[in-house]
């Protein structure tokens, strides 16, 4: 039916013009952002888009996500129905009825069914928001029970009801021959049958309600968080291919600005991310900072960027200056410095986001500004930065002490041709008295397996991981260049690292400096040695008791090494390790990443205590780690919890235990 094509066409054109204008206003702001190439490898991008957007891969990882899956696909299917509705409304001679009957009937059947599912899903969403909204649905500025959320849900619900309303009336009036294919509408028709005089009015009113709500929904979209309906799919297309585990290089020439302090210093994709956020809160639910009462909430960072763009963008387009600061005092559209420094760069937010928004890299971009343009950072970092630049290690210990651990064993320097692998010990493994035990354990393992390896000794420098995550790109750049030059000059092609931070830096960050070498973390390497039979243990390690394994963020989530450490533990002890509730890609940070290792933790609960508490629920005798930072955080946390009976061991130490002949 089409009650009044002329009136409808007038309203339709007005709505379309408004929608187009709104979209133009919003999307033109994106062009304020800096250039960034997100068009390479279109085949892979399309695949990712199909997987994450249309397959809703991450959405359904939470049980209630299935509800969204239903709504999403209903939306896609009903898009056909609604397009037809609009076309038919304006041009009554066009419509589905012109299709072959079988197809027409199939579509009507599908629409009927899908509309019922949608109605159920919308009811569930309503109920969830009213009766038991999960805590992560709310932030300071966006609430779970916001009028906006209910308005959108109401719009969708009304659309479904109106759909059944006018189709039911049509059937009751006998105006359609398709009634047998529309079971729900036919049921509605039966309910209306006793009131024949009202049918025509009811049909017309339902039709107009449907028309008006549909167009209102469209007009409202670009002005609401439900803009994700327009942006989420392209956002999945434009996502970082692979993992967002590095930051882009900066070009250090005079006149350049470094980092981000104004919204237009972000790239266009950073700004597009803001438009793609639906405020689902999954990032804040996963974030170790948010979870322990820090001022950082990754969702709010994205919200701030979006709000800031909407407030400042039009002014900046007109050549004016921004009025809302991007970094400053607490306020909507502004990130506080404390927020920016609270991030452990663990990547939990990146892992959680269903539409592949990249929260953490934006935080690092803002850190870059604070450190490099303003020299503003927590005072604990001053020593770190000076020590890194002066002595290439975080503690400022004399480089000559890098080789102190060697005194207990016979170690060769790396020499091309004579040694196959470089064992890159790293700063923790060289200087930290606890971590030195890991170093010795790993060296023992390498020797036992007959691996040809050497070290750089005093010539070894810091990899610069903390500097890069803290936004001190200038000094990182210097260190990276020196290390890459050294690796190339010495002909190093295979590196074993003891620390996941060195591992990710060499493997992913140094690639930007042209270093393409084989980088392997010791957990993977030990796993290989055991599989190949090159490493044979002298006894099965039972003396460490019940073992729970903690995933390091930079080994696990950022580099997908999940199975190797578990496999090693199983081989060495004869049984798989205990798992914490948050494990593998959903592991919870120890609190030391992103340079947080070197900062005080003033707000809320300490992150390491939260994690240690979780580990203790598995009643372990030993907590097994694969990172010297995690080691420190767990040992400190256990002391705080007075859980002195529980040990912390690195995977290498566990395996070295099995090499002992007299356990």
């Amino acid at each position: 039916m089409s009650p009044n094509p002329i009136l409808f066409t007038i309203i339709l054109v007005a709505a379309l013009v408004f929608f187009a204008w709104s979209c133009y206003r919003r999307f033109s702001l994106i062009t304020l952002g800096r250039e960034e190439n997100r068009y390479d490898n279109p085949g892979l991008r399309i695949w990712d888009m199909l997987l994450y957007a249309f397959g809703q891969k991450r959405v359904v990882q939470k049980p209630f996500g299935i509800n969204h899956f239903v709504i999403f696909w209903a939306f896609v299917i009903l898009l056909i129905a609604n397009l037809e509705f609009i076309i038919h409304g304006a041009f009554p001679q066009l419509g589905l009825a012109t299709l072959p009957a079988s197809l027409h009937h199939f579509l009507l059947f599908a629409f009927d069914l899908v509309s019922v599912f949608t109605l159920i899903a919308i009811t569930l969403s309503f109920a969830r928001r009213i009766f038991s909204p999960p805590p992560y649905l709310s932030t300071q500025y966006v609430k779970a029970r916001s009028p906006e959320a209910f308005l959108i849900l109401a719009f969708i619900g009304i659309l479904m009801l109106a759909y059944f309303g006018f189709h039911g009336a049509e059937i009751a009036m006998g105006e359609t021959e398709a009634a047998p294919y529309m079971p729900v509408s036919a049921f509605v028709a039966q309910l209306m049958a006793p009131y024949p005089s009202l049918l025509a009015t009811f049909a017309a009113v339902s039709w107009w309600v449907h028309a008006v709500v549909l167009l209102a929904f469209m007009c409202f979209l670009p002005h609401s968080k439900h803009m994700h309906i327009l942006t989420a799919i392209p956002n999945c297309f434009f996502q970082t291919l692979g993992k967002a585990n590095t930051q882009p290089r900066e070009e250090f020439v005079k006149g350049n600005e470094f980092g981000v302090a104004r919204v237009d210093q972000f790239t266009w994709k950073d700004l597009f991310d803001g438009y793609s956020c639906t405020e689902c809160g999954r990032c804040q639910d996963a974030c170790p900072a948010t979870n322990t009462g820090k001022p950082l909430n990754p969702r709010q960072v994205i919200h701030a960027i979006k709000t800031n763009l909407l407030d400042n963008g039009p002014l900046m387009q007109a050549g004016g200056k921004p009025v809302v600061p991007l970094i400053g005092e607490e306020g909507e559209g502004t990130n506080t410095e404390e927020t920016i420094w609270s991030c452990t760069t663990c990547g939990a937010c990146l892992q959680a986001c269903p539409v592949m928004i990249e929260q953490m890299p934006k935080i690092i971009k803002m850190r870059r500004h604070l450190v490099q343009m303003e020299s503003r950072f927590p005072e604990e970092l001053l020593n770190l930065f000076e020590n890194m630049e002066q002595r290439s290690n975080p503690w400022g210990i004399a480089p000559s002490e890098r080789t102190k651990w060697v005194s207990t064993m016979n170690v060769q320097p790396f020499e091309k041709g004579k040694t196959e692998y470089l064992f890159y010990v790293g700063c923790a493994g060289s200087f930290d008295s606890r971590a030195k035990h890991i170093t010795v354990a790993l060296a023992t393992i390498l020797n036992a397996a007959g691996v040809s390896w050497g070290i750089l000794g005093r010539e070894e420098g810091c990899c610069g991981d903390s500097l890069r995550r803290l936004g001190n790109e200038f000094v990182f750049d210097k260190i990276a260049r020196e290390n890459v030059k050294q690796f190339q000059e010495k002909g190093i092609t295979k590196v074993i690292t003891l620390c996941p931070h060195c591992f990710t830096t060499f493997k992913n960050d140094y690639r930007q400096y042209g270093l393409e070498i084989e980088v392997i973390h010791h957990t993977e390497f030990i796993d290989q040695l055991l599989r190949q039979g090159r490493l044979k243990l002298n006894h099965q390690v039972k003396e460490l008791g019940n073992i729970v394994f903690h995933d390091s963020c930079y080994l696990g989530r950022h580099n997908d090494v999940f199975d190797a450490p578990r496999q090693v533990i199983e081989t060495a002890t004869g049984s798989a390790p205990q798992e914490m509730e948050r494990s593998r890609e959903n592991s919870f940070c120890c609190g030391a990443g992103g340079g947080r290792m070197w900062m005080e933790e003033f707000n809320g609960e300490r992150i390491n205590l939260n994690r240690v508490g979780e580990a203790l629920t598995t009643n372990p005798d030993t907590i097994c780690v694969s990172c010297p930072y995690c080691m420190t955080m767990f040992e400190d946390g256990l002391k705080d919890k007075q859980a002195g009976g529980v040990r912390v061991k690195d995977i290498a130490e566990l395996v070295a235990e099995g090499l002992r002949t007299n356990p």
Binding site: F252, V253, K254, F258, V371, Q372, M373, E374, S375, F377, E379, L382, F385, E386, Q390, R391, G396, I397, A398, P399, S400, F474
Partner: protein
């Protein structure tokens, strides 16, 4: 008004060794740093620049490679950096050094009034703490040592009030300008250079003044002008420690033994 910070490039002492034959520091392959106390002197000159609009200059006497130290000062924000470098300045003790630095400051004051000279309280290589006072004496400036706080600075009325950090007490003194301060670490937290300033410092000029500029009597500078005579430098032998008690097996007893030991050596009284 010009404020002059005197800074020195020193070897990173954590990495220093002494040549047992020549009794001198082994300088090969050792990285250099800005003398840590001097970084506080530099910072204070920059703070006074920020607050009172004075100009800040950094001067350093040393070999040509000491230019790196002055570049750092430029990156931090000094307006002028001058390297005093000449073979005839070499081998100087504290007296000869203060002669050269004083002459340079005198030359600077020909262009602009020097209100304050700030030095670190001592260097970590020589550790004499004599050069600052030597400069003050040679210039006839008020000498204010071991400053941990500037209470008041008045460039108009030419007055300064400072707090000296002495053993177990503080002393607040007021003096007329021009004055020379030597400063301790507690005075301030040095700033960190911004990247744009670092990049600008790469091309910024470090002026080099040799003795043709300063025109000092060669008998008063360098080795010839140095009455100090080093007979021997050596690393002091440190007594080896001992392990007492049973460690964690009996912590109470170990702690008791430790306290007894400390008391017997009189290490717990103030």
């Amino acid at each position: 008004m010009l404020i002059v910070a005197c800074i020195k490039q020193v070897p990173d002492t954590t990495q220093v060794q002494i040549d047992p034959v020549t009794n001198t520091l082994v300088r090969e392959g050792i990285p250099f740093i800005v003398n840590p106390y001097d970084t506080h002197a530099l910072e204070e000159s920059l703070r006074l620049k920020d607050r009172f609009g004075c100009r800040a200059a950094a001067i350093s006497m040393g070999p040509p490679n000491a230019e790196a130290t002055l570049k750092k000062a430029l990156a931090l924000g000094v307006d002028e950096a001058i390297l005093l470098s000449d073979r005839v300045f070499g081998g100087a003790d504290t007296l000869a050094t203060s002669n050269v630095l004083a002459a340079a400051i005198r030359k600077l004051s020909e262009e602009e009034e020097v209100g304050l000279v700030i030095c670190g309280k001592q260097t970590i290589d020589g550790d004499t703490a004599q050069v600052g006072p030597g400069i003050a004496t040679r210039l006839g400036f008020t000498q204010l040592t071991l400053i941990d706080r500037i209470e008041e600075f008045d460039p108009v009325r030419k007055k300064i009030r400072v707090r000296r950090k002495l053993e177990g007490r503080h002393e607040i003194v007021e003096a007329p300008l021009p004055a020379m301060l030597t400063v301790v670490r507690e005075l301030n937290r040095p700033r960190y250079p911004t990247v744009p300033m670092r990049l600008a410092s790469v091309d910024a000029e470090v002026k080099v003044w040799n003795n043709q500029v300063l025109k000092l009597d060669e008998q008063k500078i360098g080795l010839k002008g140095s009455p100090t005579w080093v007979s021997r430098i050596f690393s002091p032998e440190r007594e080896k420690g001992e392990i007492i008690g049973e460690g964690i097996k009996d912590p109470k007893q170990t702690a008791r033994l430790l306290v007894e030991k400390l008391l017997s050596k009189d290490l717990l009284s103030l």
